[in-house]
Subunit: 204 residues, 2 copies
Amino acid sequence: MNKVITIGREFGSGGRELGKRLAEHLNIAYYDKEIIEEISRRTQLAEGYVRQIVEQKPGIYFPITVGRTLHTSNSDYMVKQQTSVYAEQANVLREMAEKSDCVIVGRCADYILKDHNPLRIFVYADMESKIKRCREKAEVEEHLSDKEMEKMIRKVDKNRSHYYTYYTGQKWGRHANYDLCINTSALPVKGFAEALADLIKGME
Amino acid sequence: MNKVITIGREFGSGGRELGKRLAEHLNIAYYDKEIIEEISRRTQLAEGYVRQIVEQKPGIYFPITVGRTLHTSNSDYMVKQQTSVYAEQANVLREMAEKSDCVIVGRCADYILKDHNPLRIFVYADMESKIKRCREKAEVEEHLSDKEMEKMIRKVDKNRSHYYTYYTGQKWGRHANYDLCINTSALPVKGFAEALADLIKGME
């Protein structure tokens, strides 16, 4: 069975960076935005629309004109679309895990791929560190005040938490659902990725 | 300021082993049972009695004759004694942290020593692994069935959780209260301790 590493992460905690670095050190595939692209291709829905679906609370309905096809707004139809996006996401993740060793960021991958016995990592940080990291990395939020940024971070994480619980029945970030939970306020992402990659190599 | 590493741990998860190995690799002091011995010396209470106090739910009263002095059983007196043991424990921990770099297992040290900015580790595992580890390491529980051992593990952890929350106001094992949470069902204690010690050395 291929080695699969899944990364759940709070917004701005450096989970994506940790995943990328782990994949580089281990010389294995890294999947993040590619998942959305693939779902979009398969469902024939626009990437932006798929992203809205998978990044918002399930049960919230978006203007359907964002998609490629025009439909009359209908909540039943929307729920079906959300469900089919989730189902397609599960297919995409399973195919990725069966293809080769890989690191997968987000997307309830720890739960969907549980039969692959993944190494399940959760990455988090305190608010101050997350705001600092957002300022350093994400230019788009440059105009936001610290207070506005904190509000945005909380909103994104609330949606992630809700989404995760909705589809898995588990609590997002609860340690028992993961093999390793890393607070990047205290531990350096770069060094930790290297140390962890070496450890994983040694476990083979 | 000295480097302080605190280890909270579920019973049977290997937290003590991780702490010992970390201390060895880093060549720093390791405190575990020494804390109880020192509290006992200072409070003039028997070690077994101190251990009962710090390992049971606060608010539960033990027969006072277990201690060195005989008193009429009185719940107010017991509460005072529990409180003074906790206060003495805090003094002992602070002195240990001020003396030299160290690893401290249990005893709400992550909370008590928060001004020392410790690296706060929480060690846990799934029930199957904990039972297996208990069988391998702790000869005293040899006579217990798996079911009895599971019951005992759950009871010890429930007491630890209650004790931690009582004195810190925080949730035991909640990732936000720690810098690193390690599931030893998935990650080997020996290898992880070595990798983490190297990382910590590199952070200096």
